[in-house]
Amino acid sequence: MSFSLTDIVSISDFSREDIEAVLEKAAEMEKTPLAKKNKILENKTVAVLFFEPSTRTRLSFETSVQNLGGNVIGFADAGVSSTKKGESLSHTIRVVSGYADMIVMRHSIEGAARRAAEVSKKPIINGGDGANQHPTQTLLDLYTIQKQFKKIEGINIGLLGDLKYGRTVHSLMYALANFDKVKVYCIAPDSLKMPKSIIGDTSGKLQVKETSKLQEFLPKLDVLYATRIQKERFVDEFEYEQIKNVFILGKEILKNAKEGFKLMHPLPIVNEIKTELDNTDAALYFEQAKNGIPVREALLSILRDVKK
């Protein structure tokens, strides 16, 4: 297993070997009993600094640290930190890196994690920096696909919804481009299509097809990764009203789907997947969210021994 990074800042820093090292370690973490893995971060302190609110990412990081026997320090809201007094991010990170062995952070400023990694002598894990990167989400998405289908190579995946602004689907495109023969079907209304720059960057590695009609490609898909279409993205409310129902998924999608078809979503779901799908075999999104634990445990475990 070879892992080349000292910080987890952006999925674009990851080579295929780095991704595979994380997925392998995550699988190992999932099999290791708690009584054994709670020695991994023994006597280690992990700072979890959430300058902006989050539920799943923060809780799953804190759970992961505790599962590995580490101590958690930090805050869940910048209002209780010295940021409120006007301290710069660089200073906060330098100070906290003197207290902790690793720092997990989320910040609304884009590039905050990259800057933190420059000033911190301890590893940084980016739990989201504004609209830029959320690499641990992408890694857990890949882990979910790998675990479910026993492979990532050759997978047929549909990306549905807001592909123009969606951070998770952009990162997933770049990450999937590390694997061979992956077919990506980009399914979005015309105004929310996958940016040409991303299709250009991944062309030659991914086979990409674009459409606005889900039914057209549904029978080909192993997995459909749905994201929410936000009303505020539309200048024209009429256009939103026209398309919103096309992108709300219900049980009817299962009629045309192939056997073993799975539905993923980064959560939270607002109304884009009807609750009638929650208890079907296709729904993989709760399992996906749960996979955040072994993946984050894997990252914490790998970075424990990193010397910067």
């Binding site: 400023i109 884009e110 590039g111």
Partner: protein
């Protein structure tokens, strides 16, 4: 540099920027603040060029460019030539090329980028054909047109 190119105003000592893409000369005057130069600066726009079809030139009397100035020019004058003139003779000729990285040369156009919030030098990786710059921090990619506007 052919003799024909020096017909406008050959300088005695200084720098001649030749084979510049059309439109680059005035931008170079702006970013190097040559309008405030002590000595003469002559600009030729849209002149004939065997290599480029059309080109711009900038003649700067009494000035040698610093490394930082050359890098800034490299962003907009890729494949141009810089001639160092001493006593009306070309003493040295250098190709101007696009730097791989631009540190502190371009302002990030993303208002949410950390470089626009904390006092921090910007860093961009550059690729050509077409020219694009990617912010090291917020990872926003900016186009040639945006780069020209954002050069510091």
């Amino acid at each position: 540099m052919k003799k024909d190119d020096i017909r406008l105003m050959p300088i005695s000592n200084g720098t001649v920027l030749d084979h510049l893409p059309v439109g680059a000369a005035l931008k170079i005057v702006e970013i190097l603040k040559l309008d405030k130069a002590k000595d003469a600066v002559t600009v030729a726009i849209n002149t004939e060029s065997a290599r480029r079809g059309r080109k711009d030139l900038v003649f700067i009397e009494g000035k040698a460019l610093t490394k930082k100035e050359i890098d800034r020019i490299g962003l907009i004058a890729d494949h141009g030539t810089m001639n160092i003139i001493k006593n009306k003779e070309v003493k040295r000729k250098e190709k101007i090329s696009l730097p791989k990285q631009a540190t502190g040369l371009i302002k990030c156009i993303n208002p949410k980028c950390i470089t626009n919030i904390e006092k921090l030098a910007t860093k961009f990786s550059l690729t050509e054909k077409p020219l694009k710059a990617k912010c090291h921090y917020c990872e926003k990619t900016i186009s040639e047109e945006e780069i020209f506007k954002a050069i510091k």
